[in-house]
Amino acid sequence: MGEEIAIQFDHMSKYYPGVKALQDVSFSIRRGEVHALLGENGAGKSTLLNILHGVDSADGGNILIMGKKTQFLNTNDALRAGIAKVHQEIHLVDQLTVGQNIALGFEIKKGPAIDFKAMYRKTDAILTSLGCNFGSTDFITNLSVGEMQMIIIAKALYHDTHIISFDEPTASLSSAETDRLFQTIQMLKSKGITMLYVSHKLDEVFMLADRASILRDGKYIRTCDVAETTKAELIKNMVGRDVSSYAVRMQPSFAGEEVVLEVEKLCGKGFSDISFKLHKGEILGFSGLVGAKRTDVVHALFGADQAYSGSIKLFDKQMKIRSTKDGLKSGIGLLSENRKTQGFVPGFNNCDNMALAALPKFCKGTVVNEGKKKQNFEHYAQQVSLNIRNPEHLTKNLSGGNQQKVILAKWLTSDVKVLIFDEPTKGVDVGTKSEIYRLMEEFISTGRSIILVSSEMQEIIGMCDRAIVMKNGRITATLPKADLNEETILSYAMEGKKS
């Protein structure tokens, strides 16, 4: 019992132009277990899942499901065979009801028409089994992210699913929502469903998974029982070297007395009465739950959104920041949360993306000097240790971590004095994470300052000189380094006061 094999990956290979995404990967997943798939960005996890679900086809090797050689033509094909996927990003159709979304593409029909009654009966039953407090006839628009995730899982269960894979399911969930998700996963496990779980958060792996398989650079490294391993060992296997505990300052604080940025009574969409000071050489954290409006605050600082009222002073000078252009001119930069949609220009190569925010620097009049731009690329590619040194390589073809490095280099190029990092390590692998932390330290060592918005407690506690905690658009606490610990931050983030 328990030794029955649900999925067998047999010598899988996959090539993309310039990349060996998978090389001779073989391992198996037991029936009814939660199996974590670990690896840095670009290790081949997504590729493997894509092939499993019929999104992509392998160039070599086979997948055996319940001992039978299988190759799906597309995701629907996989769904019919009972293999579903819960994506990192949630794609639902806003105009349709919850029930319609769950059944989308596989509606129950009565003749040519949809049999809503039967369909909703089936979807309602699934929602109840998941413990959802909303029904099939509700609309998507009123739901939270966590509830939407439940719909995605319900969608998976709508088919007679026996295998579900999760791709970074907690990336955009609050901690309460994450707990709910974990309960659901335990419940599914008790029903005998086999689950593949991809995540960068090792804590989750230890909480949920029975076994974990590790990929590195497209190669299979090993599979281990989670109960018999340690975090350090997993990380070592993922990175291929020892990584010191990463969210930690390696150098003494550079924070000085001089006030660089002074914000007073800033109000805007969803937040109000935001006042704080940022000192020279300081890393100031912004902590809080999802929905605390931290991103909205920093967007207003940079000019990406307009504040309604309040004042922003930079080096004692009153600033009017009405657009991102004003923000940049004042010396503020923003490394935004969503790399793909807000971070870089997909049609541009690394060299152009790095130069984008500071293009006038490389221009004579308005004519761009390509040589200077290339020099700049070489300088910063070295500094951020970008893995691909070809300036013509398209940024969109880099791994997530390296994309983040290019964006960071863009802001370094633009000579900003205050750089806002909004969730800089979201979806970034451990190796790159520690590199980003080192670059942050390097940045402040030259007298510049950082605002760090992060949902990762370790990051706030380890990296910040001080931290502001927000709840529902208001500041509930400004904590000095000594008070930065999980309990204190959480109680201010959840209750708005010290418990």
Binding site: Y15, Y16, P17, G18, D59, F302, A304, S323, T324, K325, G327, L328, K329, G333, L334, S336, T341, Q342, G343, F344, V345, P346, G347, F348, D352, L356, A357, L359, P360, C363, T366, V367, V368, E392, K410, S414
Partner: protein, 324 residues
């Protein structure tokens, strides 16, 4: 060798469509040897001029991720306005300057509708297309402007040698200038950036509205040029001119590699696209085919060119796999 490879890679789309153009010329030449004669080739160039002006302008709008459907009407309005000014006896250079200002103004108007009022480019320019067409009729009361003075016509029409006329030289100059703006200046970089990812561009501290408006200004100015050249060529100014030309312009840009999703396209590609359409048109006339086929052939070229873009990636992947 590496340099050649890089150039080939960077201009792959332009080279491909150029190969198609050569292929079309070869096919027609096999059918009818006179097709390859210099006179006929110049005729192809001549036939591509008006569409060339319109298409290089529209390319700017398309690269920002938009489109300009009003170029035919901008062209008509510049025809009747410049026609009347020329008949009134204004010096030709002054007419040319006023025409360009008119084009710039109308382009800016489109740009403002799209950026400040946040209208979709398709809808905004569909609207201005109709408004401006109506205004072109109003300016002349529906009648054509007749007897365009020789001085004005000479500014565009003078023969340099053979059949090469001054306006063709203007097109080449305009294309070179616009191409340099697009490839070598920060304005050009921002126009590509906006089309490829507007949000990321905005969040890099760039005033995206400004560069979108800029693109529509170039588009308007080129449409006005097309109008002024037409006026000089025909010697009369028809308010009905340019109807449906916007689609030919979009077609030339699309064949030349511009993507309606934005962020892609080049002036060189668009010029070759315009030449391809014209080579096809002239070729069908030369071999004595019905002009009805012209529509079919044009449509097929657009579809094939667009499809080629899709399969190019797959072909590259196959070649790559063979190499390993």
């Amino acid at each position: 060798m590496n340099g050649v490879k890089n150039v080939a890679k960077r201009y792959s789309r332009e080279l491909t469509i150029f190969a198609v153009l050569i292929l079309i010329i070869l096919i027609f030449t096999m059918q009818e040897p006179r097709y390859i004669e210099v006179g006929n080739l110049l005729d192809i160039l001549e036939q591509a001029t008006i569409n060339g002006f319109l298409a290089i302008g529209v390319t700017f709008a398309i690269i920002t991720g938009g489109i300009d459907l009003s170029v035919g009407s901008v062209m008509a309005l510049s025809i009747v306005a410049c026609g009347q000014l020329a008949v009134m006896g204004l010096p030709p250079i002054a007419v040319l300057a006023i025409g360009l200002v008119l084009g710039i103004f109308l382009g800016a108007l489109n740009g403002l509708l799209i950026t400040k009022m946040k209208l979709q480019p398709f809808i905004a320019t569909l609207g201005t297309n109709s408004v401006l067409r109506g205004m072109a009729y109003l300016v002349t009361g529906g009648w054509p402007v007749l007897n365009i003075p020789k001085g004005y016509r000479n500014l565009f029409q003078v023969q340099i040698f053979h059949n090469i006329r001054l306006y063709m030289v203007y097109l080449i100059i305009a294309a070179i200038i616009l191409s340099l703006i697009l490839k070598r200046t920060s304005t050009g970089v921002y126009i590509y950036a906006v089309g490829s990812n507007e949000e990321a561009t905005r969040l890099s501290g760039i005033n995206v509205d400004r560069f979108k408006i800029c693109a529509y200004i170039f588009c308007g100015a080129m449409a006005a040029m097309a109008g002024m050249v037409t006026l000089a060529k025909l010697g009369t100014g028809e308010p009905t001119a340019g109807q449906g030309y916007e689609l030919n312009a979009v077609a030339a840009a699309a064949i030349g590699g511009a993507s309606l999703a934005g962020g892609k396209g080049s002036i060189l590609g668009t010029m070759i696209g315009a030449l391809t359409l014209s080579a096809l048109k002239v070729g069908l006339v030369v071999i004595g085919m019905d002009t009805f086929y012209q529509y079919i052939a044009t449509g097929l070229i657009i579809i094939i060119a667009a499809y080629f873009e899709i399969i190019q990636g797959k072909i590259a992947a196959v070649i790559f796999m063979r190499k390993r």
